[in-house]
């Protein structure tokens, strides 16, 4: 099981704050995203629009990153602190 979190504007666009799903061993972030898009259709648009970073265990990673059981994945829209 991995936990997937959505922040700020993505929370309302996706309509969820958090989902959990099972991953097979050897899954990459790219493969997880394909799976997520089927469950959460708005994600397709969001990812195509760009500007959204994805973190695994609070570190921003690229799409080749391996995903392991217990990981926390988060979708981060453009930052606007300060």
């Amino acid at each position: 099981m991995v936990k997937v979190r959505f922040f700020a504007v993505l929370k309302s666009l996706v309509g969820k704050e958090e989902v959990s799903l099972d991953v097979e061993e050897g899954t990459t972030l790219a493969q997880l995203l394909e799976k997520l898009k089927m469950d959460l259709p708005p994600l397709d648009d969001i990812l195509q629009k760009g500007g959204v970073l994805i973190s695994v265990n609070q570190e921003v990673v690229d799409r080749e990153a391996p995903i392991q059981d217990g990981d926390e994945i988060a979708f981060l829209p453009p930052f606007a602190g300060g």
Partner: protein
Amino acid sequence: MDQDRIRVQTEDFSTEEETDKIKACSKRIGGIVNFLGTARDFSKGQEINHMFFDHYPGMAEKRLAEIREHALKDYDIIEVTIIHRVGEIAIGDNIVLIIVGAEHRKDAFRACSWCIDELKRITPIWKKETTPEGIVWVEEHP
């Protein structure tokens, strides 16, 4: 020490209290530069009534701690405090405070300016503005 220097909190902070803590670190400190970000009532031609900051708990603090450590390593400075408020913020209220103490002022100015740029670049904090026309999540900033 670190936990006190890096904070993400809903409560307001006292610039004087935080400055005093920096001063107390070392008698070598000769220049202290503060950046205080406050909530403006106007942004991109749009009036603002109030704002709300969301953040990724844990990751935001981690990025702020990294910014502090990089600043201490890359600039000739003595101490850094970074505090960011989250939750509801009224117009005129404090949002963010960065304090840099150094022996000499030029290093303090450079480090403080770098810290706030870097904070905006890498910290998972988001701003929602409420305007007379509705609510908008801010996507970029100058």
